[in-house]
Amino acid sequence: MDEAQRLVELIPRLRRYARALVGDRAGADDLVQDTLERAWTKLHLYQQGTDLRAWLFTVMHNVHVNRMRATRLADPLGDEMPELASRTQPDALVLRDLDRAIARLPADQRAVLLLVTLEEMSYEEVARTLGIPIGTVMSRLSRAREKLRAMMLRQGAATKLKVVK
């Protein structure tokens, strides 16, 4: 199987991760497209026989970091997040809450959390993909989870008690 085919097969996973990382569909697909294009120009750096998925996620991470640096978007969603999900979709609210909470995590914690949770990468793979020591992976993971838990608890309480800020 050649690289083009394998790239196509990996697109759904790249989209899922990008969707959670970026917070909206169009932005996620832009990121995936940039990643694929970057991957082609860098393909000579990919070592045949190694994990193409991990390599692609590294490319995506680098593209994403560069874009964030370029646009200086600290919080792409904020409180002005438009209603993206259809109301008829039962999971829409959960997804929206999660999106908001995930978007509020610091970018480097978010990446670690999503690679472990969505991609189910080993901690070592995450360290290699992001180019950070494994100790850093573990501390970011721990902090990301604790923050996410706290945010979801607050949101849950706010919904139940109908408390408006």
Binding site: R19, L36, S142, R145, R149, M152
Partner: protein
């Protein structure tokens, strides 16, 4: 039994189901007497499930066309498709053989070299491909030796691409004299006896890359291209231009440095 310390890393790995049996049992015992910590780990697990469930639908969505294109249209596949288009156009409007074919445009050019690789490859093909008993010096049964030997003589890594998926199997190869040093020739043959040769030489200017070009020298059709330090020419009298292009593309993909 005295308790061993349990670290935050252990708790995370426990929640992710990534501990070995022994360590897992230890963490379980530790959590049994710490309901708050146990609840925290359980909350992480629930969140993980929610996150996975929330984005799972993305995996079964059809891939948008623009992304499928970004994954496949690039060089060299895109290039080959573009060239095939230009060849079709060239044939339709009667562009003479020997014109340079580029994806962007058709360029008429005088022969760039005094002895173009296409001509040399065609001559070598015409000389050796009719050989029944001695088509090659070293046979494909000794491919490793063949490739090592030719690599050594050319002073660069030489490979014999696998063309079996296109019905051409390696017969073997030989060393030939060239203008600027030794040249390698690999010979392939189909089941019904059609022959194909790949002519490989080193190129002086190391960072050049060209599109595929096609030339006809007498009866020999040749696709040739330069890829950094190597010049390649794929020659055959038996194959159509389309068949030859397909094979050139297969070679190109495998020979990428």
């Amino acid at each position: 039994m005295s308790e061993l310390p349990v670290s935050e890393t252990d708790l995370q790995a426990y929640g992710d189901g990534r501990l070995g049996a022994e360590r897992r049992a230890m963490v379980e015992a530790w959590l049994a007497s710490r309901p708050e910590e146990a609840e925290r780990v359980a909350a992480y697990q629930r969140l993980g499930k929610e996150v996975r469930a929330a984005y799972e639908a993305m995996l079964s969505e059809p891939v948008p066309e623009r992304l499928a294109q970004a994954a496949t249209r690039r060089f060299p596949w895109g290039r080959a498709a573009a060239i095939a288009g230009w060849i079709a156009l060239g044939m339709a409007i009667g562009v003479p053989a020997g014109w340079q074919l580029r994806p962007e445009r058709l360029v008429a050019q005088a022969a760039p070299d005094s002895t173009p690789i296409a001509r040399r490859a065609a001559v070598a093909h015409a000389t050796y491909s009719p050989e029944v008993r001695h088509p090659v010096e070293v046979g494909a049964d000794d491919e490793q030796h063949l490739v090592a030997w030719l690599s050594k003589r050319l002073g660069m890594k030489v490979r014999a691409p696998k063309l079996d998926e296109a019905g051409m199997s390696l017969v073997g190869g030989r060393l030939l004299p060239g203008e600027n040093g030794p040249v390698a020739q690999f010979m392939y043959q189909s089941q019904n006896g059609k022959r194909l040769t790949l002519y490989v030489r080193t190129e002086a200017s190391r960072n050049r890359e060209t599109a595929f070009r096609y030339a006809r020298e007498n009866n020999v059709g040749v696709f040739y291209w330069i890829d950094r330090e190597a010049g390649y020419a794929l020659a055959s009298t038996d194959l159509s231009k389309d068949e030859l292009l397909r094979l050139a593309n297969l070679c190109y993909k495998q020979l990428e440095p």
